[in-house]
């Protein structure tokens, strides 16, 4: 059956050119058209998109012009009566793929809002989807109208989808279930067994516990040392060179989506817009989705006041629980048009070439490479003690630890932002887990578990290091709780995990993701025998015999020494030598970690999905000059 293109008999070739129309209508200046055409010659992108991205024309004017040119009526979906049963029949993904939103059906005529002139293929597919329709009436609208209408029509589904999609597709990988019954019974049994042992054999129990803690602590630290030393190898290798970046042609660049989840960030949203404007990527091939919660009108107003370019779209996240960043990202993922996608935080300052470098790494890499992690570091490292220690920690983590995991082919937990994805693979992985408060780390592990790989790109995003203790504790307790959740999720069947990913990867996962919160929890218990020994000397030998104290002292010196060594090592790549003395203060930093770890442990049982909000913008625009 042949498709029927109702309401229009004008072919594109016969129509007036868009540029000429806009100039005649006084909507743009001739030089702007000229400039856009030159840009089009480079990128191959459509003229309308270039004009929009350049801010030369308003979206509404552009689509009204197209409506005139195509001799089709114009419709604002925000003002139209939408028959929800019609779009629901064909579903959100197909509407976005066809750029056609059927919105009314009166038994005879089906009205369809479009943003591109309907191709014969589109018309045929619509006809097949609605075989009873005799007449299709097309009307031009804007992309934003379609997105708005989709969010309205599919609101309930979008909430469910962004919340439960992972659980429904891969329940065994979702943190929605905090503990399995088996995990909980095992843990409870161990606690009860410990109490019984304390009663019947307190000395042996204390000694055994002490040795266990020491062994775990030392092995976890030694593991990090080994991985970091492997990561040091990358010092002499640039994953992506500047020459490779320069050789990229704009017309070959794919469409890229940036997800920007923000919540209560009215104070810095404007700054964020400025930071993103420095990205070296054609604006017409860049889609920026700012994900704003429905109950956060202040941020929305602040974002509008920043007068962002037309490639920035605000996506309002319906108010529902859990109110987490991954849930917002999942919803944004439904609307992402880019072939690749990256996520940034509100206070991020990515290096301009980051998108291109990530793209090159994807192109150079194996097809199994589904995510590329950019390095993170801080622009306010010299603000106070906390920011200095944070910078040391991040430098070690992103410059040595993650590259080490990459080199050794070990599961890699992603960092919070600057994660670049192949969008289709991200959708296949069902996006982020909204119930996991370190959804990024979990996603990296899930990708690794599916034998996908994670790459590390040599481009840095500068963030704001937490400068206040309370804020730091909130953030760190969330991270540690997330690591606990991730550990629980992937150890629901430990033997299956080992069989699936192999012993080496399983051990690596245990030590890195499980070992991190465990060492923070155990560290105070490790200090106790040593402190007792200092204050009470031989009187403490009942609980901690000399050999146990020596082991603890060994860990204190060697374990902490190695941790300090790693932090010292961290500064060299970025030449932050002035931070070296602060590495010696690492044991004090551990106190804060341990405090946060115990807070996280309590929350794991009381508020497992609670997202401890980190306040940004505390240091203003302070930037390190050292």
């Amino acid at each position: 059956m042949q498709p029927v293109a109702s309401s229009t008999s004008v072919t594109p070739a016969q129509r007036q050119r868009l540029g000429e129309y806009l100039v005649e209508a006084g909507m743009v200046q001739p030089w702007q058209i000229q400039q856009a055409l030159q840009q089009q010659a480079v990128t191959g992108e459509r003229l309308g998109k270039i004009l929009l991205a350049s801010g030369y024309v308003h979206r509404l004017d552009l689509y009204r012009a197209l409506s005139d040119l195509w001799e089709l009526p114009f419709v604002l979906l925000t003002q139209a009566d939408i028959d929800e049963a019609v779009p629901v029949k064909i579903g959100l993904p197909r509407i976005r793929r066809l750029n056609a939103f059927p919105y009314q059906w009166d038994g005879h005529t089906m009205r369809v809002a479009i943003t591109e002139y309907p191709s014969p293929e589109t018309q045929r597919e619509l006809y097949e989807l609605f075989p009873n329709v005799q007449h299709f009436e097309y009307a031009v609208t804007t992309e934003w109208d379609i997105d708005w209408a989709l969010r309205e029509v599919f609101k309930s589904s979008l909430i469910k989808g962004s919340t439960y999609a992972l659980f429904m597709r891969h329940p065994q990988e979702s943190a929605y279930m905090v503990f399995t019954r088996g995990q909980y019974i095992t843990l409870a049994s161990l606690v009860m067994l410990f109490i019984v042992c304390l009663y019947f054999a307190p000395q042996a129990t204390f000694i055994g516990t002490s040795i266990f803690i020491n062994v775990v602590f030392f092995v976890a630290v030694a593991f990090k040392v080994i991985v970091s030393l492997a990561g040091a190898r990358i010092e002499r290798v640039q994953p992506v060179t500047d020459a490779e970046v320069a050789s990229l042609r704009d017309e070959d660049l794919p469409f890229y989506t940036i997800l920007l989840p923000v919540y209560k960030e009215a104070n810095i949203i404007g700054l964020l817009m400025d930071n993103l404007s420095t990205l070296d990527y054609p604006k017409e091939k860049l889609e920026i989705l700012v994900l704003i919660e429905e109950d956060d009108p202040e941020t929305l107003e602040a974002a509008k006041a920043a007068r962002p370019p037309d490639n920035v779209q605000f996506v309002i996240i319906p108010d529902s629980q859990p109110k987490t960043k991954p849930k917002a990202c999942n919803l944004g993922l439904y609307f992402a048009r880019g072939e690749y996608l990256v996520i940034y935080d509100a206070e991020d300052r990515p290096e301009p070439d980051q998108l291109k470098k990530a793209l090159i790494l994807f192109q150079k890499g194996d097809p199994s490479l589904v995510v590329v992690q950019g390095a993170l570091n801080y622009f306010n490292s010299d603000y106070n003690f906390l920011t200095r220690m944070f910078t040391l920690e991040y430098s070690y983590w992103f410059d040595y630890m993650l590259p080490g995991l990459d080199v050794l082919n070990l599961p890699t937990p992603l960092g919070g932002t600057s994660n670049h994805f192949r969008t289709d693979r991200l959708r296949e992985l069902a996006g982020w887990d909204p119930f996991n408060v370190t959804e990024d780390a979990d996603l990296g592990i899930r990708a690794s578990m599916r034998n996908y790989t994670v790459g590390i790109v040599n481009s840095t995003t500068y963030e704001e290091a937490n400068s206040q203790v309370g804020n730091w504790i909130r953030q760190r307790s969330r991270w540690i709780k997330g690591y606990m959740q991730t550990t629980l999720v992937h150890t629901r069947n430990p033997m299956k995990l080992v069989r699936t990913v192999g012993l080496k990867n399983a051990l690596s996962f245990f030590l890195l993701v499980g070992g991190t919160p465990l060492t923070f929890l155990l560290a105070p218990l490790l200090w106790i025998p040593f402190i007792l020994w200092i204050f009470f000397g031989s009187d403490s030998t009942f609980f901690f015999p000399t050999f146990a104290v020596y082991i603890a002292a060994f860990n204190l010196l060697i374990g902490n020494g190695l941790a300090i060594y790693l932090n010292m090592l961290a500064v060299f790549r970025r030449k932050l030598y002035w931070l070296v003395p602060f590495a010696l203060l690492n044991p004090f930093y551990w106190f804060l970690h341990s405090y946060a770890a115990y807070k996280a442990l309590i929350q794991l049982f009381t508020k497992p999905f609670y997202w401890e909000k980190t306040v940004h913008g505390l240091t203003g625009d302070h930037t390190t000059t050292a």
Partner: protein, 643 residues
């Protein structure tokens, strides 16, 4: 920067960190507090001018670097200065502090002779009123003040230098418990108490291998032949009793180590102090005492009855004093007090005084204090700086006149005088713990007297005279000093009893006279346990054997030692502290409650973190959000070959 250089730089920095961590510990090992050096009460300077000499031991190889003094002045102390000198060289002179402060005085240039450093602390305060100054102007030097040493101790090259000026611990090692080895240990204990009179080291006894001795530690090992050194001069091997006797029971022995503040003297029992029924102050180790001042000035002499032997007591003291004449218009008197009781008084009407003071038996105690006090009134008054002071010199030929007899009371106060002529030691079973307890008792008693105590180890309690016995309560029964668990303490053969409460294990220290012999008895329920050691630790706190009073000290399983006085038959001693008893009795219940609470918590949390099936989302498909998109290929959750 190359990777190698980076690692090298980090390694160097890390090494620096380790050195920083290790440095304070090594430094601390070379520091000694005044408390450890024999000045547990600190030092107090009072008046307008005051000074005191300190004798600081300096082990061979060590160099006293500095002394860190914690100075605590009385409020509103007038201006003045505080100086520290060594010999004729002033090491430091500072203004008197207005508040508590710490000063560090370098000692590198200080003079050391005979292994000791003499420091003179002097305070001079501005003002004229001596009387006011004596009461109000004081500078206290805290016993936590520290002498800081550098260098490394030299190992002893020969036996005579084996015991350095200061020791913290001596470990006695006997490969197997034997009577000979035990005998040597007891002699060693007495020797250490005499040698390190001001700050005796801790003595431990073991049958196992001793750990490597620390900076201020030595090991005495029973074995080998004669007396030899090993382990780089830190271990003294004693091969036989003859050698042990020569080393530890005679003056010759090893050269007497430097004591910190008091000159030590030991006396062989074979040559008693008193030849003709009298003993001079010089024989007791007292130097000529020179005192100067106006108003009331005193000099004190501490002595114990044991200093005179087992069966002699002083009947009087003859004081030989030279003094400056009392100016016309003034007056002066000498008063002699024994344990606070005036025993004699005489006017200072010439320039020499030879006075006899009788001593009654009831004025004597085990440990005595003789005060020679001068009350001098200057014609100008006593409180002005320009007053001509009285100078007096108490001569060393002053004597105690002795008579035969016993002046000792009952109980623990009989000791060590009754042991002064020798005593037997019975230890059952003979193991490191019981021997160590016996050695501690010998050591504590020896520290109170200048008479050389001569313990003789014996294998039986029969056929021996005065006895120190260590064992279990069966030994107490055998010696007629049963502690009945029924609540009544009985000395069966003395017919004395007191009430007390006692449940479970306990240890007791008893001093009593049984027929013709005096017995000091330490018993415990389990001699291999720490019961008796804990009891001794508490009884001997804080002043060693001086603290041992009364007739009986008992200690329950968890309580503190209680000293019981037989003169008060109605007293009841609670041996177990109620709180500790509560824990011991209800420990199981407390644990049970804790376990139940944890179990309840686990049950309460369970539904909050473990979801039930009915809590899962009740829809299987996300309406309108999924499309059979051929571009999305679901990857299985299983491994695939990596590239």
């Amino acid at each position: 920067m190359s990777r190698l250089r980076i690692h090298l730089a980090c390694a160097v920095l890390f090494a620096c960190f380790l050195a920083l961590v290790a440095l304070p510990q090594s430094t601390q090992a070379q520091d000694l507090t005044f408390d450890a050096l024999g000045y547990p009460q600190g030092v107090e300077l009072m008046g307008l001018t005051a000074s005191q000499d300190l004798f600081i031991p300096v082990n061979a190889g060590l160099v006293p670097e500095a002394v860190v003094l914690d100075l605590i002045p009385t409020p509103n102390l007038p201006e003045g200065y505080f100086s520290i000198s060594s010999g004729d060289r002033i090491q430091s002179r500072v203004a008197l502090p207005r508040a508590a402060t710490q000063i560090t005085v370098p000692l590198r240039e200080a003079r050391i002779s005979d292994g000791k450093l003499q420091l003179t602390l002097e305070m001079v305060v501005e003002g004229d009123d001596y009387c006011e100054a004596f009461f109000l102007h004081r500078l206290y030097i805290n016993p936590e003040s520290v002498v800081r040493y550098s260098g490394a101790q030299q190992a002893a090259a020969e036996v005579s230098t084996f015991f350095p000026g200061f020791l913290d611990r001596v470990t006695y090692v006997m490969p197997a418990a034997s009577e000979d080895a035990a005998q040597a240990a007891l002699w060693l204990a007495a020797y250490l108490a005499r040698t390190y009179e001001a700050a005796p080291p801790e003595l431990t006894v073991t049958t196992g291998a001793a750990s490597a001795p620390g900076a201020f530690e030595r090991v005495v090992q029973w074995g080998g032949q004669g007396a030899t050194l090993s382990n780089g001069g830190t271990t003294l091997n004693v091969g036989d009793l003859a050698t042990a006797r020569q080393l530890f029971q005679t003056d010759v022995g090893t050269r007497l180590a430097v004591s910190s503040s008091v000159r030590t003297q030991s006396v062989e029992r074979s040559t008693p102090l008193f030849g003709e029924g009298a003993v001079t102050f010089a024989d007791l180790g007292f130097d000529t005492r020179n005192i100067e001042g106006a108003g009331t000035i005193s000099s004190f002499y501490n002595f114990s009855l044991a200093d005179f032997g087992a069966d002699r007591i002083p009947a009087g003291v003859r004081l030989n004093i030279r003094h400056t004449p009392v100016p016309a218009g003034g007056n002066g008197y000498m008063h002699a007090y024994l344990n606070g009781s005036l025993i004699q008084s005489a006017p200072l009407d010439a320039n020499e005084l030879d006075v006899w003071a009788p001593i009654r038996n009831d004025e004597l105690q085990r440990d005595n204090n003789l005060e020679v006090r001068f009350a001098y009134n200057s014609p100008e008054g006593n409180c002005i700086r320009s007053v001509i002071p009285l100078s007096a010199s108490i001569q060393t030929n002053s004597t105690f006149e002795l008579i035969s007899g016993e002046g000792v009371p009952d109980g623990l106060l009989r000791f060590p005088q009754v042991f002064a002529d020798g005593f037997s030691v019975f230890v059952e079973p003979l193991n490191p713990t019981t021997l160590e307890n016996a050695a501690h008792l010998v050591m504590a008693m020896q520290a109170t007297t200048k008479t050389l105590l001569g313990p003789t180890i014996v294998g039986s309690t029969t056929g021996v005279e005065d006895l120190l016995a260590v064992g279990d309560h069966g030994l107490a029964d055998a010696l007629g000093a049963t502690l009945a668990p029924s609540g009544t303490l009985q000395y069966s053969q003395l017919g004395t009893s007191i009430n007390y409460t006692q449940d479970g294990a306990y240890a007791a220290l008893q001093g009593f006279e049984n027929l013709t012999r005096d017995i000091l008895l330490l018993t415990s329920t389990d001699p291999a346990s720490d019961e008796a050691s804990d009891l001794l630790d508490e009884v001997l706190q804080p002043d060693g054997w001086y603290s041992a009073q009364g007739q009986l000290a008992v200690r329950g399983e968890n309580g503190r030692a209680q000293v019981i006085d037989l003169d008060d038959p109605d007293q009841v001693a609670e041996l177990d502290a109620p709180l500790r008893g509560f824990w011991a009795e209800y420990q199981w219940l407390i644990w049970l409650i804790v376990a139940l609470l944890v179990l309840l918590l686990i049950i309460w949390i369970f539904p909050r973190v473990v979801r039930r099936q009915e809590e899962y989302p009740q829809y299987e498909r996300l309406s309108g959000l999924e499309e059979d998109d051929p571009t999305v290929v679901q990857r299985p959750y299983r491994p695939a070959p990596r590239s």
